[in-house]
């Protein structure tokens, strides 16, 4: 449990929340707020995916499909039926959850992890192709535009706007989602459910012998994971205001998010957050290197995988590690 959550996970979330509350009061321009908004959205996406990939131990490679489903569902309903995005984002999450449960059924029968990876990858490709070919509704690769931003909110005489170019409002939405999702997920995982997930990851047969209903728990995990990813996709849609199947369900999205989870730490609760922060921010910082940007970005991922094979969340200060090693040694007779 310590390996997954760290020492004081609730305290860590509180610190994140405090940091995010302070950010709008800092003299930051819209560009920085935009980068932080993307980081928060992708961190939630990566955390949702990590639930099945790392914590449950199922090597799924199709979660970008749930991101696309959440994004398109929310965008289409708000666009065609005039429903407020404040409501449609939840619809996007629910539809993604249903899709997660549906794809969870065939996975229950597959024990081989490479096969799980291929099935989920194929599912994502099907979603991308369906979104591409439903041109009358999604406009396919022509791009679905006309997505409304979140409705403005008036607080104490001040109206907060959302969507592109309204950096503060968009950051606030992403920050609330980030804190809310991580807090609720942590509460879930610190309960019996979390222990059950870890038991399934560490030994399915052993867990089953102890009375754990594998099928039900796996479907539950898939549903929750897909709902979180779908919610992040829905918020993304009402922020960026344009969707194409390739940009949300294409291989680039798969690779970027997988890199965030691996660099941050697969199976560690805070790993995807660190990975999303590092890769989203470094991708922008490296702009100063011009044509070498993507080369350095790739090299950065390789370096971090080498120096932190268990992810950034698995890094421990040397002194702490030494203390732990000392504590684990048996006392010598004097």
């Amino acid at each position: 449990m310590l390996e997954v959550f760290g020492r004081h996970p609730f305290r860590a979330i509180l610190i994140w929340a405090l940091l995010l509350v302070v950010v709008p009061f800092l003299p930051l321009d819209d560009y920085v707020l935009h980068i932080l908004t993307l980081f928060l959205i992708f961190a939630v996406f990566a955390t949702g995916w990590n639930l099945t990939l790392g914590i449950l131990g199922l090597k799924t490679l199709g979660h970008h499909a749930f991101f696309a489903i959440g994004a398109y569902a929310s965008a289409l309903v708000s666009h065609y039926f005039g429903v407020s995005p404040w409501l449609t984002i939840w619809l996007g999450a629910i539809i993604a959850a249903i899709a997660g449960i549906v794809i969870g059924f065939p996975i229950l029968r597959i024990r081989s992890m490479p096969h799980v990876a291929i099935v989920t990858l194929a599912f994502a490709e099907i979603v991308r192709l369906v979104l591409s070919n439903l041109k009358e509704i999604t406009r396919g690769e022509l791009g679905f535009w006309g997505i409304p931003p979140f409705d403005p909110i008036t607080i104490g005489g001040t109206t907060v706007q959302f969507g592109l170019g309204n950096a503060f409002g968009s950051f606030a939405v992403a920050a609330v989602m980030f804190v809310g999702v991580h807090l609720l997920l942590l509460m879930l995982l610190k309960s019996r459910s979390g222990l059950t997930f870890l038991a399934i990851r560490d030994g399915e047969a052993a867990a089953e012998s102890l009375g754990v209903k594998l099928a039900a728990w796996k479907l539950f995990a898939f549903g929750v994971s897909a709902a979180i990813v779908g919610l992040s996709g829905a918020v993304y849609a009402h922020y960026v205001l344009i969707l194409t199947p390739t940009s949300v369900a294409g291989p680039d999205m798969l690779i970027s998010l997988l890199a965030m989870i691996i660099v941050g730490g697969v199976g560690r609760f805070f790993g995807p957050i660190y990975g999303a922060l590092l890769l989203t921010v470094s991708s922008e910082l490296l702009r100063d290197f011009g044509d070498y940007r993507m080369l350095l970005y790739g090299a950065l991922i390789v370096v971090f995988v080498f120096i932190a094979p268990t992810g950034l969340a698995g890094l421990k200060p040397t002194s702490w590690r030494k203390r732990q090693e000392a504590a684990s040694k048996p006392a010598e007779a004097t």
Partner: protein
Amino acid sequence: MSNLTVRSLLAAGIFGAGLLAGAATAQDFNVTIGAVGPLTGPAANTGKDHRQGLELAVKEWNEGKGDYVTKNPPKVTFMMEDTSGKPEVAISAAQRLITRDKINMLIGDTLHSHVTLALMELAPQYNLPILSAEPVSSAIADKVKADPDRYQLYWKGNWNSDGYGTAVHDFYTWAFANGTVDPGDKKIAFVVEDTDYGIANAEKIGDLFKADGWTVAATETVPPATTDFYPQLSKLRDAGPDVIVSVFTVPNSGVAFVRQMKEQALEGSHLAIYYPTKPEFMDQAADIAEGMYWAALTFSSELNPEHKAFSDKVEAEYGNPGTYSTAHAYCTMEIALRAIDAAGSTDPKAIAEKLSETDYDCVVGRAKFGEDHAVQSGPDFIPVPVAQIQDGKNQIIWPENVATAKPQ
């Protein structure tokens, strides 16, 4: 001192102060222009061409070699950021240019329509003039027409998708009428890349042919940079189309398609869109593509002395010949610079107004914006000629008034 002397001194002083103020104003008129385009990813080659064209135009402008509107043109600072062809990355890049570099105008996206659909939202939000370069999707113009007030600062530096569609349709109508191509059973098929560019062109051409009584036998979409077309070609063999139209922006896709099409010995007239504009295509496939029709030969250093001069200029500066993309980016920057120069300030509305009045002959043709804020295409504006590869070289075969050879 007499009153006359005092008045003369006063007048001279005011005149001198005015001159100094004027000089100061002229010197102080600096503008910063940012651009965003795909400098990495599958379209990086085109992005590189765009950067060269944009940089060259700015360099000439600052060195006193520009085509100025006023006598006091602004000094220009230019910078370009990478989008990787993704909307959210493009927005990051644009916001960096807007908030960090304080740009007065944005050129973007330089290639992708779906990226432009996202970027154009920044024009009203940041009160910033935005001019896209090569994107053609009519969806962009539709968006402007749907809410002209909101997008009054956004302008589209290329024609709409229907420019290609109309040209291809009109060319074939002409070719059927004079017996150059046999319409057969009146079946047309498309193999296009799965992008807004490929699909929009296929839809427009298909609609125009259907209006003439044709049927669309197949519309096959493939991911960008595909090089295996055997599944699509097998389907086309069964469908037996009389006209096949292929659209790719990556030249390697074009080379592979043409090669595999020849292997499969498909009958029917083949017309290619965009990829033959790339020198890489002609280097690799000129022999196997013999007799192929393609659109649009808007830039040819072999046939057009003005294009040759521009290509040589690019080669002298960068060590590689100029392409259509280099020339188009160069013209886009020229249009932007002239509008700012004519506006005499960096006021966004003044720049937009001068953009709307643009009527400028550049190396790729005459640029004039329509009511939908898109550059117009056609014989009087930017021409969309159809070419044929004859003896390994490109020849314009349509429209007849600009043709350099008869179709074979």
